[in-house]
Amino acid sequence: MTRMPRVARTAWVAPVLTAVFVGAWTLAVTACDSGAIGANTPVSSGVSFVGSTYNSEFFAPGSRSLAPAVTGTTLTGKPFSLTAERGNVVVLNFWGSWCAPCRGEAPVLAALSRRFQDKPVRFVGDNVLDYPASADAFERTFNVGYPSLNDPGEHVALAFHDTVPPSAIPSTIIIDRTGHIAARVVGAVSYDGLEALIVAVLDDKS
């Protein structure tokens, strides 16, 4: 009499385990970038994480992280400290003169800084991956009325790395009057969008 071979009760363990393993692996592999560093010449596309992404976030007053104690020197040589700005809303914009979207949003920022100049709102730029002559020329071109930190090595961005990092150039971070991070815009800002965020941060009771 033919018998089906008796299969041990544990025979299902192996197939199930491997199915789980295969599923996890597929997940890991299909989304990860296998880019290797290769040739002796830099693979840089020169775009340096500048993209056309746009993302705007507002953090509710109870759930804001404390902004880091950023210090630095402005392009004109004056010292700057973020903690000294407590009591003002600080709009911190990361930009570079080489960066096309930053040039695109520059008029918006200049206009908004003038709109809020009688309010307790301070616009501060953080000039990254750039050099003083070009940065000054940019400020002249766009009639930027507010100071910018001289930060070619992006150390200010590093300070934010474990809270709300600026994940692209340009990015704008809004810090409320108590020194907490209230909002972040990744990508070039629009007049209405940034204005609404600033007003919201100005108005919250904190």
Binding site: P5, R6, V7, A36, I37, G38
Partner: protein, 383 residues
């Protein structure tokens, strides 16, 4: 600044080594022609044993005593069958599932019982018999010593480990191949292999000296690391053994074809040479043992290369063409080892797989260096 006097000594030594190998080949050939000695003759397959063992296959009908010897075989799992089925030389049913494989055709292993390994058991003397064979072996050893001298003096001339470009590398791998030839000759009494291994070695060295010669010089900064001693040395050892294995496999295929033709009553053109060589199963075993040594060495060399790559380039594996072809070579030799464990794939098919692996290896050495550019382009040849 390379020491030009030592470099010239090295070049001269290499040419002398080629000449010595050439004379050794002549002596081996003369040995074939003039010295009709008795070698181990293949025993006929013993059918009675074969039938009994094939009855073991299913494990159900052979009786309780033999069934117990299936090493815990699960009769329901054909991959667990005892390797005794391997005695029928490739045509038993069902794979044996073990990576360390069954003896392909041990039934033909010879009455001496001690088989190829013969550490004193088969009664043959340790040293080669006959004046021609002795001369040939002495010449081979002499050539090997001079060849090693060429490599050492080159290293001294350049004040670095002497495998930094294609010229030095080919010299090194051929030296490794001859080294393994001499070791195998002594350990397995395989002196007859001399002629067949030296033939590709001499050709490769001649091409190396004439077309690929690069003067002694410093190494590129990327290669300036102690890892060159580990990774490239490992590669050289593995490749030397792979070369040896490939030569033995070719001989095995010739012997196997000869035996089939003889068994079918046909004429065989190589009957003269085949009478001087051991049976195809012995050759097969020798080839298999070569790969058993070379495969872990290759694995080690690839791992060492990955560690060095991580150290130098920031990633341990980047699918650089040389890395990819090393991987392909590894996979094909792994397939060879699996084939030896799969019924229907032992014997000739496995031999073809081994030669395929060797072809991948040769492409890895030559093709990737010369035709595909990547991080590994250190051939040193003018573009």
């Amino acid at each position: 600044m390379p020491n030009s006097a030592l470099a010239q000594v090295s070049n001269a030594a290499l040419v002398s080594a080629i000449m010595l190998y050439g004379f050794a080949m002549l002596a081996y050939a003369c040995d074939f022609l003039y010295n009709r000695r008795q070698t181990e003759v293949a025993a006929p397959v013993r059918p009675a044993r074969a039938t009994v063992n094939s009855g073991v296959l299913v494990g159900a009908g052979a009786g309780p005593d033999l069934a117990d010897h299936n090493f815990g075989a699960d009769p329901a799992d054909p991959s667990e069958l005892a390797d005794l089925s391997g005695l029928t030389d490739g045509h038993g049913s069902g794979g044996s599932g073990s990576a360390g494989v069954s003896s392909a055709g041990r039934a033909g292993a010879g009455l001496a019982g001690a088989g190829l390994a013969g550490a004193g058991a088969s009664g043959q003397p340790r040293w080669p018999a006959g004046p021609w064979l002795r001369t040939a072996f002495v010449l081979t050893c002499l050539g090997l010593v001079v060849h090693m001298g060429a490599i050492v003096t080159r290293g001294l001339a350049e004040d670095r480990v002497p495998w930094g470009n294609m010229y030095e590398f080919i010299s090194a791998i051929t030296c490794a191949a001859v080294l393994f030839l001499t070791l195998a000759a002594v350990k397995f009494r395989a002196y007859y292999m001399g002629l067949f291994v030296l033939l590709p070695v001499v050709i490769a060295l001649a091409v190396d000296v004439v077309f690929i010669y690069t003067p002694a010089g410093a190494v590129a900064p990327a290669l300036n690391s102690y890892w060159i001693a580990i990774h490239v040395t490992g590669m050289i050892i593995a490749i030397g053994m792979y070369i040896f294995g490939a030569v033995v496999t070719v001989l095995y295929l010739m012997a196997s074809r000869h035996e089939r033709r003889v068994a079918a009553g046909q004429e065989s053109a190589v009957a003269g040479i085949m009478a001087q060589l051991p049976s195809s199963t012995k050759l097969d075993q020798l080839a298999y043992r070569a790969i058993l040594f070379a495969f872990p060495a290759w694995t080690f060399a690839v791992i060492a290369g990955a560690i060095w790559a991580d150290h130098a380039w920031g990633r341990y594996w980047g699918w650089d063409p040389k890395e990819t072809w090393s991987f392909i070579t590894w996979v094909v030799y792994a397939a060879f080892l699996h084939a030896r464990a799969t019924a229907g794939w032992r014997g000739r098919r496995a031999a073809y797989i081994q030669l395929l692996g060797f072809a991948c290896l040769m492409f890895n050495l030559v093709g990737v260096n010369l035709w595909i550019t990547g991080l590994h382009s250190y051939a040193g040849l003018p573009h």
